[in-house]
């Protein structure tokens, strides 16, 4: 049984009002709200444990280190990675992708090599590869999408070749909601001898992820889209690969020994974590992982899908509304346009009703170009959203249509 009201209780911010109306927060693909337990562990850390990690002999430093490393192991379990040192803390998904592009990319990729991305990628999974291609003379190839917002069938096969070194692909599209067939893509990449980086930023809060079963080489996500803090994210990489990769930033913590003649680097995962990390953030992320696991991602997915089906039904009944991204088995993202009203105007009018949605290009300008749209409006659902809130969204959309006389 789903008990959404008990879930909601965990999120203090959901009690606030916006412009005198109860907040209806439907911008979860941008960032999710934080449960009490995450807020509490961060506060507890600063009130009781605050110290720098991996370097003090004093009690606080030891306790802070234990909490930080404990969080790393929670993330390992969450992703079902084999080894704790395969979990690298970063600032977020963006930084994790840049880490791979800089470290693996600059040392492994040569002129004439090819990197495959899809047309539905977030800019974070496009630009670092463009920069790599520019620096190395490699070529960026793009897997096209079709009208429904899925990868064009057969396109991965035909684009994958001898020179393909890496496929960088999102698990769930933030602009369309599409869930990509990772199993097939990874199998094709294996056959071609290419690596696979999965952008899990939009996936981890909505479906169980098992990197060992997936057999991807890299997996990245951001804590803040998983009910955790901002400023913390994760790079998972297979140990053998990470061991071979050079460090990408230099500084404290990532070294074993420094002399002016020569510096030797620390082992995994510290080799990739130069400088004092976001300790409170990592601990908060650990609490977020605990929270999501205690509720259960299957239950969350089922509830969100229920909301998406309701919203999709109401959308079909609304004249002039067109969904952008209509693949079966979508994640809980409803991207849409209303005939005769610019998404920006929709956003302002919904905001006046307390309904928070995202309008714009969603950092996926190639997707907008594909549909010849400057922007869309996007409602994205999380575990704490309710069927009543979906009703409020559509009442507010009716208000938009009234105002614009359409």
């Amino acid at each position: 049984m789903r008990d959404v009201s008990a879930w909601r209780e965990q999120f203090p911010i959901l009690k606030r009002k916006v412009h005198g109306k109860p907040l209806v927060y439907l911008d979860n693909a941008a960032t999710t709200q934080k449960p009490q337990s995450v807020l509490q562990v961060e506060r507890h850390y600063y009130e009781h444990l605050n110290a720098n990690i991996h370097r003090g002999v004093h009690a606080l430093s030891q306790e802070a280190t234990d909490a930080f490393e404990g969080a790393r192991d929670k993330v390992r379990q969450f992703l079902n990675a084999k080894h704790t040192e395969e979990i690298i803390f970063t600032r977020g998904a963006t930084e994790a992708i840049n880490l791979v592009a800089q470290s693996w990319g600059r040392s492994e990729v040569r002129a004439g090599d090819e990197i495959l991305v899809s047309e539905m990628e977030h800019h974070a999974n496009i630009v670092p590869w463009q920069m790599l291609c520019e620096a190395t003379g490699a070529t960026l190839k793009v897997i096209p999408i079709d009208e429904r917002g899925g990868l064009v069938p057969g396109a991965v096969e035909s684009l994958m070749g001898e020179r393909t070194r890496l496929v960088a692909i999102t698990q769930v599209s933030n602009a369309l909601g599409t869930v990509n067939p990772l199993g097939d893509i990874i199998r094709l990449a294996r056959a071609a001898g290419a690596l696979v980086l999965v952008d899990g930023a939009q996936a981890v809060a909505h479906m169980p992820v098992d990197v060992t079963a997936l057999d991807c080489d890299f997996y990245v996500f951001s804590g803040h889209k998983l009910y955790g803090p901002t400023g913390i994210g994760v790079l998972y990489g297979k140990r053998a690969l990470l061991n071979k990769m050079p460090p990408w930033q230099g500084g404290g913590d990532m070294i074993a020994e420094v002399t002016f003649r020569k510096t030797t680097y620390n082992q995994l995962p510290y080799k990739f974590e130069a400088g004092t990390p976001h300790i409170a953030g990592a601990i908060g992320l650990g609490a977020a992982v605990d929270f999501v696991r205690s509720v259960g991602l299957e239950k969350i997915a089922e509830h969100e899908d229920h909301l998406l089906q309701q919203a999709t039904r109401l959308a079909a009944q609304m004249e002039g509304m067109r969904l952008v991204g209509t693949m079966p088995g979508k994640a809980s993202i409803l991207s849409f346009v209303l005939e005769g009203v610019h998404p920006h105007d929709i956003g302002t009018i919904l905001d006046s009703e307390g309904v928070a949605i995202r309008t714009g290009h969603h950092c996926a300008m190639p997707v907008m170009d594909h549909y010849c749209l400057p922007a869309t409006a996007r409602a994205s659902f999380a575990m704490y959203n309710t069927t009543d809130e979906v009703e409020v969204l559509f009442e507010a959309l009716h208000r938009v249509k009234e105002m614009f006389l359409i």
Partner: protein, 147 residues
């Protein structure tokens, strides 16, 4: 937030549905493009300036109701103005939508956009056409962005 109706006045809906001076302009001698990165709106402005006077002005592009209405109202306001007068209108308009309150310039019909100052997220929509006009008059070649 102040009332939505302060922002979306009837005049604005009217200009959004029926933009004035919309389309290309033959024998225009100044052009500029504007781009609002936040919402992806693009606007192209064509001006015909002779002896320091704006003889004609038209715009193309697509945008939200605020930016379309603002561009439409701007083209009406600019016709027959000297470049100096256009600059003064730009200053006055900018002041009205960013700071709110009284302006020293008589903005006439443009005052229907005064409500924008209560909606900070929409200031860029209202000023896109004006920044573009500014670039066209000062002959800037690069597309202007409202960032």
């Amino acid at each position: 937030m102040s009332d939505l109706r302060d922002l979306y006045q009837e005049v604005i809906f009217d200009h959004n549905r029926h933009p004035r001076n919309f389309g290309a302009l033959a024998n225009a001698n100044r052009h500029a493009q504007g781009f609002n990165r936040l919402c992806g709106d693009r606007l192209t402005l064509h001006l015909k300036v002779q002896d320091g006077i704006i003889q004609d002005v038209r715009f193309e592009g697509s945008g939200c109701a605020i930016s379309t209405a603002s561009a439409s109202l701007m083209t009406e306001a600019l016709k027959g103005k000297t470049e100096a007068e256009a600059n003064a209108l730009f200053e006055g308009f900018h002041h009205m939508v960013t700071e709110g309150g009284e302006t020293s310039v008589n903005l006439g019909k443009l005052a229907v956009l005064a409500g924008v100052s209560e909606f900070p997220a929409r200031v860029k929509c209202a000023t896109l056409a004006w920044h573009t006009m500014n670039a066209a008059l000062h002959d800037h070649q690069d597309p202007v962005s409202t960032e």
